[in-house]
């Protein structure tokens, strides 16, 4: 049997225990037998039918005369006709208004009752135009009285139970809907007869066997604990798979959490975090990285310029002189330089940071040796915004400085990133090109989900980068493209989604 009797509602349990196999089950029998309200009864029928425990045997239409509150008080106080008849019998003739006044009846009710009674010869008007008794109470009123009395016992009468005479008598007392001023309300009702199915019989036996009564405790209240009443019974087990309600928690942003995870990984690998302002100048954004001032990536169409102030006040020395000399003739780095005249105004021009490596360059001027540094920093790129390009985005970059660090260490570092941060299955290195590193290496990885892709770029900073910034030791520089992994982690395929303002979308987003 696939019904877990523990999941049955007390209304169902009690019904199952109450009925016998093969017997007719009706709303009436359940209401009178178990004291259910009509609504509870309907719920129990509907739930048990849905579970296949009950089947419908027949369905018949019935007209029910339901006694209203008016009907109940009329039963106690008497019908207007009865009351007028007995009042006049006891107190002698009275005018209509006097009767209405004395019996607290509407004048119209008194009028219509008098009309009825006088037409049957029970009352008449005398010369003083007062009503007085003239004969016996008509049979019709007596029948109405009997109907009222019978109805009072069960609250309603079924049309089929009434004689032709009774039907005629009840007609003026009943109205179809609303009218609470009438003693009866006419209800068209379907009487449905159910019977236990075989599954219902099995469930019934199981309920009895499991000793579930439907009287188990529902909600545990403070009173139950204080009085100890809970000790006198058992708790109704709840359906553990019932639908849950939606909660809206305070929550971290899923992308921000991913970036935090990356940062924590890097911390664990011994890196110290750096950060910096969004507004940079051409000196740090390009010159310090030994990118010649005429480099194509430094074109007006590749970098965002700041409108005001256009220039930084000054570039720190000795870095400015040393970098300028390196560009022009190599300074004393052993390089021949780019061989052009360094533009000292252009170098102060302010831009929005276009690459994270800028902060690595800054870090060189204050680095400890040995040292490992990283930043997850926002950069700006002059690009048309689409699914794969944002106006601003995060870059993850860093450096490793040490007396003896070399290419083999760079490969080791990349392997570590590939395994620890990307969960790579295989790692492949290929020669790359960056203006500020030589040699330069790209690392491609085989990701368990994404397949082969370029995880990052790296290299050993050129002496033309490090020496003018006061570093004699070799410096490994690396950058990781983590956005692709972040998108995969978040189940997205559009970079713009990472910064969506849509609250609902952020609320429901989660990492893998």
């Amino acid at each position: 049997m696939d019904i877990d009797v523990k999941n049955l509602h007390p209304l169902e349990v009690k019904l199952l225990r109450f009925v016998k196999p093969g017997e007719d089950i009706t709303e009436e029998s359940i209401i009178s037998g178990l004291g259910y309200k009509v609504g509870q009864c309907n719920q129990a029928f509907s739930w048990l039918s849905a579970k296949g425990c009950l089947e419908e045997v027949s369905r018949t239409k019935k007209t029910i005369y339901e006694m209203t509150d008016t009907g109940r008080s009329m039963k106690e106080e008497g019908l207007p006709a009865e009351r007028i008849y007995s009042f006049l019998g006891e107190n002698g003739p009275h005018t209509m208004p006097e009767i209405a006044e004395a019996l607290s009846l509407e004048k119209s009710d008194v009028g219509s009752a008098f009309g009825l009674l006088s037409s049957k010869g029970a009352l008449k008007l005398n010369e003083e135009r007062k009503a007085e008794k003239a004969g016996d109470l008509p049979e019709e009123i007596k029948v109405q009285r009997a109907v009222l009395d019978r109805a009072a016992a069960s609250g309603s009468l079924e049309e089929g139970e009434l004689s032709a005479e009774e039907r005629k008598a009840i007609a003026p007392l009943a109205k179809k809907r609303g009218a609470s001023s009438s003693p009866f309300r006419i209800q068209e009702r379907e009487v449905v007869v159910y019977r236990l199915t075989s599954a219902g019989e099995e469930t019934r036996s199981a309920v009895i066997e499991a000793n579930i009564t439907g009287e188990e405790f529902g909600v545990l209240t403070p009173q139950m604990i204080q009085t100890g009443s809970w000790k006198n019974g058992s708790f109704r087990p709840y359906g553990i798979n019932a639908p849950t309600s939606r909660l809206i928690p305070g929550r971290r942003n899923a992308y921000s959490e991913y970036l935090q995870w990356v940062k924590d990984k890097l911390i664990a690998l011994g890196f110290e975090e750096f950060d910096g302002p969004l507004v940079e100048n051409e000196f740090w954004n390009g010159d310090a990285l030994f990118m010649p001032q005429f480099h194509s990536a430094r074109d007006i169409h590749d970098v965002y310029y700041v409108k005001d102030p256009v220039h930084a006040k000054e570039i720190e020395e000795p870095w400015l002189s040393q970098v300028a000399a390196t560009h022009e003739n190599g300074w004393n780095t052993g390089s021949r330089g780019w061989g052009y005249a360094f533009d000292h105004e252009f170098t102060r021009r302010q831009v929005l940071r276009s690459q994270g490596t800028v902060l690595s360059a800054h870090q060189l001027t204050k680095a400890h040796i040995p040292g490992k540094y990283f930043g997850v920093v926002r950069c700006f790129r002059y690009d048309q915004v689409d699914a794969t390009h944002g106006a601003d985005f995060y870059q993850t970059e860093g450096i490793v400085i040490g007396k003896d660090v070399n290419l083999k260490n760079l490969l080791g570092l990349l392997k570590m990133f590939a395994e620890e941060i990307a969960g790579a299955e295989e790692v492949k290195y290929v020669p790359g090109y960056f203006p500020f590193t030589e040699p330069s290496i790209e690392v491609h990885i085989k990701h368990p989900v994404l397949g082969w892709f370029e995880l990052g770029g790296s290299g050993i900073f050129r002496p033309e980068v490090t020496e003018p910034l006061g570093i004699k030791e070799p410096v490994l520089a690396w950058g990781l493209g983590i956005d692709r992994m972040a998108l995969m982690h978040l189940g997205l395929n559009d970079l713009r989604e990472l910064f969506t303002p849509d609250i609902e979308s952020v609320r429901t987003r989660r990492g893998n």
Binding site: N409, I503, V506
Partner: protein, 566 residues
């Protein structure tokens, strides 16, 4: 990154054999090339070149040369290069630069080639190589412009001068009527693209032969006669002009080697300069101008972490097409004719690395012990985030660039302290956000469908003007939070602030925030910490909500975390 498209058969011919795509994928990295695609129907191979300092690799011939040399270890040799002491015969072919071009576009040099009839594919390929050199290496023709001409129509010497742009006229390629140089700048498509390079000068560069027939108006357009190269031609004159002589020499060398690889005979042409150059007043082109470069074996060992022998270094360099010799612990290279990217010994080291094979270097972890550490801002931010999440707030993340309408107009603020971009790509991204609050309001404006209350926050950077800073700006780590609901009000905001400050252990006082149009007057407060204003909060002014199209009452707050941390 330069990308080229090469007809299969030209590429395979240059390689000397057919190679499968898998074989190409394997070998391409030695030229820092990537297989960008292979159109097997159109028989075109697409290649992306990553080294922006190696223009010699931006052509089919260049890539093929690198691959072939790597596989064979045989360094190609080109016999047509002149040096200072070894001048190849130019047989009366000469380009004479006039002093009028000095300061405008100083030099023009060239060479001739013959011996192979160009078909469609070869011509397209040749023009592609020329375009890559002029666009990527020559910075959109600013420093290098190149013309290919029908050599048999030219009467040497060829003259290069700067001339009057209005009286000098010729029929430009692609047109049938004679135009002045100035008219070409205005009317010809190439004139509109490139005319600006020279249009500010009183005189424009002009190339013509000894008969006075026009070759071209560099760097804009060839003439329709001598400058109209077509399928079936086999004799060419190639001319390069620009302000930087070394760049021109290199461009010529690259194209000459490429054409030699394609089976052309290269015919030297003399160049007579109008001013002194490091190579004298007269040279024969193609001209070998590169100087030897050295790297100590120590540098090699230090950078690569591998004690390669002198011979291993020399063999590795040979695979890269570089002649090298070793003496007293120094490796000295003769830079190949078509390259000029050796600035420092480390450039030799990289070639040794690639030539030796990157796969032959074992990954080793750096041995130094270092301590990992978050930035103080990050640590503090995490603390703040924890408290806000506990208070039921959803963390958001936003872009930092936006429009004036969103960041300033909708907030009813002046925008005086906002930092604008001088060259915005569109007005949607024209200013760095001066506050987190407009971002939070944008969320509210697009999230009417999300169940209320909306409790959101962000910790991110904002940028404001700050005259005391060297940059005149200050980037701030800023916390913004926002709550909207039918019943939210000032007291809720004050309670959030109070709770946050309690757990951050920050003692603060409040001052009435006057004249802040973002808030309802009298229902906003400034947060004072250590005597300084560090933030503001209050009930959002309905005029702000209206501007954003929001209809739910809200409170918002913004705090300068850098100042609060101090």
């Amino acid at each position: 990154m330069p990308k080229i498209e090469v007809p299969e058969n030209i590429f395979y011919e240059l390689l000397g054999k057919r190679m499968t795509d898998d074989e190409l994928l394997d070998i391409f990295p030695v030229a820092k090339a990537e297989l960008d695609g292979h159109d097997t129907e159109g028989h075109v191979i697409k290649i992306e070149l990553n080294d922006t300092n190696r223009p010699d690799l931006w052509s089919a011939a260049g890539v093929a040369r690198a691959l072939k040399t790597y596989q064979s270890g045989k360094i190609p040799s080109y016999g047509f290069f002149s040096t200072k002491d070894d001048e190849k015969p130019s047989d009366g072919r000469i380009v004479i630069d006039d002093e009028s071009a000095i300061g405008i576009r100083d030099y023009s040099i060239g060479f001739a080639a013959k011996g192979r009839t160009v078909d469609d594919e070869l011509l397209v390929n040749l023009i592609q190589s020329q375009e890559k050199l002029c666009t990527n290496f020559g910075r959109k023709r600013k420093t290098i412009a190149m013309g290919i001409y029908r050599s048999e129509l030219i009467k040497y010497p060829v003259h290069y001068a700067a001339v009057d742009p209005d009286s000098t006229k010729f029929v430009p390629l692609g047109m049938t009527e004679e135009l002045s140089l100035r008219e070409i700048c205005e009317k010809h498509p190439k004139g509109r693209d490139y005319g600006h390079i020279v249009s500010s000068f009183p005189r424009f560069p002009y190339l013509y032969d000894d008969n006075g027939d026009t070759l071209s108006f560099p760097p804009v357009i060839n003439s329709a006669r001598i400058g109209a190269v077509e399928v079936g031609d086999s004799d060419f004159f190639i001319e390069v002009s620009g302000p930087i002589l070394d760049d021109l020499l290199l461009a010529v060398s690259i194209l000459a080697c490429d054409m030699a690889d394609m089976g052309f005979e290269i015919l030297p042409v003399k160049a007579r300069f109008a001013k002194d150059t490091p190579y004298g007043r007269e040279i024969t082109v193609p001209y070998y101008f590169q100087k030897p470069m050295s790297a100590s074996l120590d540098l090699v060992h230090q950078k690569l972490g591998e004690d390669l022998s002198e011979n291993e270094c020399i063999e590795a360099l040979a695979r890269m097409g570089v002649h090298a010799s070793a003496k007293d612990g120094m490796i000295t290279v003769e830079v190949p004719e078509y390259r000029n990217d050796f600035l420092h010994g480390v450039d030799i080291v990289e070639d040794i690395m690639i030539g030796h094979g990157l796969g032959n270097f074992e990954p080793v972890m750096p041995a130094d012990f270092t301590i990992g550490r978050l930035s103080p801002q990050e640590e503090f931010s995490r603390k703040v985030k924890g408290i806000l999440v506990g208070l039921g707030f959803q963390e958001m993340m936003y872009n930092y660039l936006g429009s004036k309408r969103e960041y300033i107009d909708n907030m009813h603020v002046s925008g005086d302290e906002a930092v604008f971009i001088a060259n915005p790509m569109s007005e949607n991204y024209e200013v760095i956000r001066p506050s987190v609050l407009p971002c939070l309001l944008e969320s509210e404006s697009v999230s009417g469908h999300a169940v209320y209350p909306h409790n959101i926050f962000e910790i991110g950077k904002i940028t404001v003007k700050d005259p005391s800073d060297n940059s005149g700006t200050r980037t701030v780590d800023s916390l913004g939070f926002f709550s909207s609901n039918a019943a939210v009000g000032y007291n809720d905001a004050a309670s959030y602030i109070n709770t946050l400050m309690y757990f951050l252990r920050k003692e603060y006082t409040l001052a009435e925030a006057k004249d802040d149009p973002r808030f309802i007057p009298g229902r906003a407060a400034e947060i004072i910490y250590k005597g300084e204003k560090v933030g503001v909060f209050g009930e959002t002014h309905p005029q702000v909500l209206e501007s954003w199209g929001c209809s739910m009452p809200s409170i918002m707050a913004e705090i300068d975390l850098d100042k609060l941390m101090a």
